[in-house]
């Protein structure tokens, strides 16, 4: 009980507070949440992509295919585990494990809210970048160990791609770090610190030094798509060229681990983008529309969203085909709506209301990124390998360097001016 009260009154993350119990609970929660998010991403991607492509998408397993990801997961788990004969078995086995490990480890420092992170370390962003770069290794391992041409080419492509896009990505992040040093005077590498400096400056870094902040964000946004191997940069798993890229030879559970890692990676880089430029857990207009009433008004939004979802479910249940075979589905959907409604009620409670605020906004921002990912995938063709490299090295890298230098110059413009004046005098 003590632990609970301690936690509830804590204003820092469990890691910072040295609260091992809650840190462990948070790790478990984060892993579960990410896995669930990946499952729902799976459903959403299929659904949204289907709607872009004027089809229904999954409709049969559960109402509107809501249970489809679970069915998929079960299918993948019970599938025969195939290891190609020529494969290097140990590495083949290790690759998906490593990729999942790296993908989940990054979430240790992601601040879902001021207190909602496993821990906050003062080199948080470096930690994230470092760990997420490790996923290259597992992809190469998977591609190499398969002992097959397509995976090998996929692995080579993806390693080249990830390595080259990491550079502009890091440059863009350095811009954000530079921006965080304004006003406070000291820049920080801590994820929470960066969000807090955005709060302190009263604006998100995407709007700082216009258009430099936006440019840095744009560079990061492009690089992160390439970093996660998504369309239009999905060369490593380009279906029409390399069949499935580095995981061509994987199936069943191992494949599902790659799948999990890919989506977890998407969530991770989106979290970085949100933290660095979009104010992390801060709600929009926290600078302009502040004050008690606005806070109160905004604090109802999570519950409202859940209610809207619940209403959607109930409406959907009403509009289900009136066919006897849809009885269970209709009931299920209605039940799900009711459960959501109950959750919404819980979210209305005063103590809970404020506490979920942070997470809510963070989740909303990440969800926007996820939607963009899917939207891009549904719209754009795929770049060729050399063109991708060209964009990375010849466009993004110089651009990011320029933005970095300009940001630095703008950041020290007063000092620069005084120094110049001194020289001139």
């Amino acid at each position: 009980m003590d632990a609970l009260t301690n936690y509830l009154h804590s204003s820092v993350t469990p890691g910072e507070a040295g609260d091992l119990l809650w840190a462990t609970i948070y790790v478990i929660l984060v892993v579960t949440a990410i896995s669930l998010a990946v499952l729902s991403m799976n459903w959403l991607e299929r659904k949204i992509l289907a709607h872009i492509q004027i089809r229904y998408g999954p409709m049969r397993v559960g109402p509107h295919g809501l249970l489809q990801p679970f069915a998929d997961a079960i299918k993948l788990l019970v599938k025969e585990d195939i290891i190609p004969e020529g494969a290097d078995k140990l590495v083949f086995w290790l690759a998906p494990v490593a990729v999942v490990m790296t993908a989940f480890t990054t979430f240790l420092v992601v601040p879902f809210g001021r207190t909602h992170a496993v821990t906050d370390i003062n080199i948080g962003i470096l930690f994230m970048l470092g760990i997420s770069s490790l996923s290259v290794l597992s992809i190469i391992m998977g591609g190499w160990a398969s002992n097959s041409h397509y995976p090998l080419m996929g692995a080579l492509r993806s390693s080249a791609q990830m390595v080259s896009y990491e550079v502009p990505m890091a440059m863009a992040i350095v811009c954000a770090i530079l921006m965080s040093s304004l006003k406070t005077g000291t820049g920080t590498l801590s994820m929470i610190g960066i969000v807090e400096s955005q709060a302190a400056q009263g604006r998100w870094f995407i709007f700082s030094f216009f258009p430099l902040g936006f440019l840095a964000f744009a560079i990061f946004a492009i690089a992160m798509i390439a970093e996660t191997n998504r369309a239009p940069f999905d060369l490593p798993e380009a279906e029409s060229e390399l069949v499935a890229g580095f995981h061509t030879e994987y199936s069943g559970f191992r494949w599902s681990l790659f799948f999990l890692a890919e989506y977890a990676g998407m969530l991770a880089v989106s979290s970085i983008a949100v933290t660095m430029w979009l104010g992390g857990w801060l709600r929009p207009f926290s600078g302009t529309l502040n004050g008690k009433t606005w806070d109160l008004a905004f604090s109802f939004l999570p519950a409202l969203t859940v209610f809207v979802l619940a209403g959607g479910c109930l409406l959907g249940a009403l509009r289900m085909p009136k066919h006897p075979s849809f009885k269970i589905q209709t009931a299920g959907l209605a039940g799900f709506g009711l459960v959501l409604g109950a959750v919404g009620l819980v979210l209305l409670a005063p103590g809970v209301r404020e506490r979920v605020q942070d997470m809510y906004w963070f989740a909303v921002k990440v969800a926007v990124f996820m939607y963009l990912y899917i939207w891009y995938r549904g719209t754009f063709p795929r770049y060729r390998f050399d063109q991708l490299m060209k964009i990375g090295w010849k466009v993004l890298l110089p651009l990011s360097l320029a933005v970095l230098i300009l940001t630095a110059l703008v950041g020290i413009r007063q000092e620069l001016a005084t120094a110049l004046m001194g020289v001139l005098r």
Binding site: G86, N147, Y150, R382
Partner: protein
């Protein structure tokens, strides 16, 4: 010897595996997402650069020409639909006209108009399938569905007209079997109005899209002379700037009665071929409008005997199929069965250009070039 054993011994004997050599032999297909069926291309690669290719075809070989020798002229008609199954109507048209030539009969005007309408609809449908799959190969997932949505309307017209959607068997020797149904002309005209904005939409998605342009411009270049030397016809030839279309050069059916342009490209690259095909779709709509609003009255089938015994002799007749020149060389010995039917398949001949087009390019371009050649393996292999 099992595969791994093979590598092991190879390793022990030479100290090298395939990974050690600077050349990589990649086997693309016959089961590969973007070889449009069962094409198998053996690629010799240096890294990702293509040093050479070898096409292995024949996985879908059904011996259509042999079947023809064992069927009567009428009975063989449905089989030609199975060659280029994306443009079955064109196949049927070519065959029927070839046999008509052999018989010395001519299809009546009304039949010719119906034939033109259906073949042009089929050209649209074929180009839509091409665009969808080509875009899919290059990574754009969505145009495929838009194209198939619009093609569906064409297939509905086919289904209403002749009772089948894909392998239509729409024409008979001497004309058409089916009278047009009520509202046929209106449906075709409505479709013309429906499809033009959709073509604009495809263009919005792709034509100016920088990724699309980068992926297709300058890729798989064939000059006009190379096209002619390689026998490539259809949009491949026109994309290289040779203004040649059998519908104009040697008009058949009722094509001499309609006004339309032959769109041509300049650079002979994948992008130009794309533009040519898009323009061809618009021209098809133009022909459809003229044809559907002027279907003459009259019989739909010429007087042909129930049992066809064309006089001994041989003819070659070719039409402009969506993929290029589709020719039929038919030898008759005066009996009810053709002595020899030779199909000159455009896809088969065009596919020869693949090697020329992809040398020195990357693996991703092989996929793009296979797409731009618009091959149908049913026709390549017959």
């Amino acid at each position: 010897m099992s595969e791994s054993k093979f590598y092991e011994t190879q390793w022990q004997e030479t100290g090298k595996t395939f990974l050690d050599s600077s050349e990589l032999v990649l086997n693309m297909g016959p089961q590969h997402p973007s070889t449009h069926g069962v094409l198998r291309v053996i690629l010799k690669l240096d890294g990702e650069k293509v040093l050479g290719t070898d096409c292995v075809i024949g996985y879908l070989h059904r011996g259509v020409e042999k079947i023809a020798e064992n069927r009567t002229y009428v009975q063989f008609n449905p089989y030609v639909d199975r060659m280029d199954y994306v443009a079955a109507v064109s196949n049927g048209l070519g065959y029927c006209e070839a046999v008509e030539k052999l018989l010395g009969v001519e299809a009546p005007d009304r039949a010719n108009y119906i034939r033109v309408i259906l073949t042009e609809l089929n050209r649209l449908a074929s180009h839509q399938v091409w665009l969808g799959t080509h875009a899919l190969d290059i990574g754009a997932l969505t145009p495929l569905f838009y194209c198939f949505r619009d093609r569906e309307e064409i297939l509905k017209i086919f289904e209403k007209y002749c009772g089948a959607r894909l392998t239509t068997h729409a024409f008979r020797i001497g004309g058409c079997q089916y009278e047009i149904y009520e509202g046929f002309a209106k449906e075709v005209l409505d479709y013309c109005d429906f499809v033009l904005p959709k073509i604009d939409e495809y263009e919005e998605l792709l034509t100016t899209n920088r990724i699309w342009v980068e992926r297709t411009k300058g890729v798989g270049v064939l000059t006009g002379a190379e096209c002619i030397a390689l026998g490539a016809t259809g949009p491949v030839l026109r994309g290289s700037g040779v203004k040649w279309d059998l519908r104009k050069a040697q008009p058949y059916a009722a094509y001499d009665k309609f006004e339309f342009d032959i769109p041509i490209g300049k650079n002979g690259d994948t992008y130009d071929r794309y533009l040519v095909r898009i323009q061809e779709m618009r021209q098809s709509v133009r022909i459809l409008r003229q044809a559907a609003s002027g279907i003459p009255e009259g019989p739909i089938i010429a007087k042909v005997p129930k049992v066809l015994r064309p006089p001994a002799g041989e003819v070659y007749h070719s039409i402009e199929a969506p993929k290029g020149e589709l020719g039929y060389f038919i030898v008759s010995d005066g009996s009810t069965q053709p002595y020899r039917v030779r199909v000159r398949p455009p896809s088969f001949v065009n596919l020869q250009a693949l090697d020329k087009m992809v040398r020195g390019w990357l693996v991703a371009d092989v996929v793009a070039v296979i797409g731009t050649l618009d091959i149908v393996l049913g026709e390549v292999d017959r």
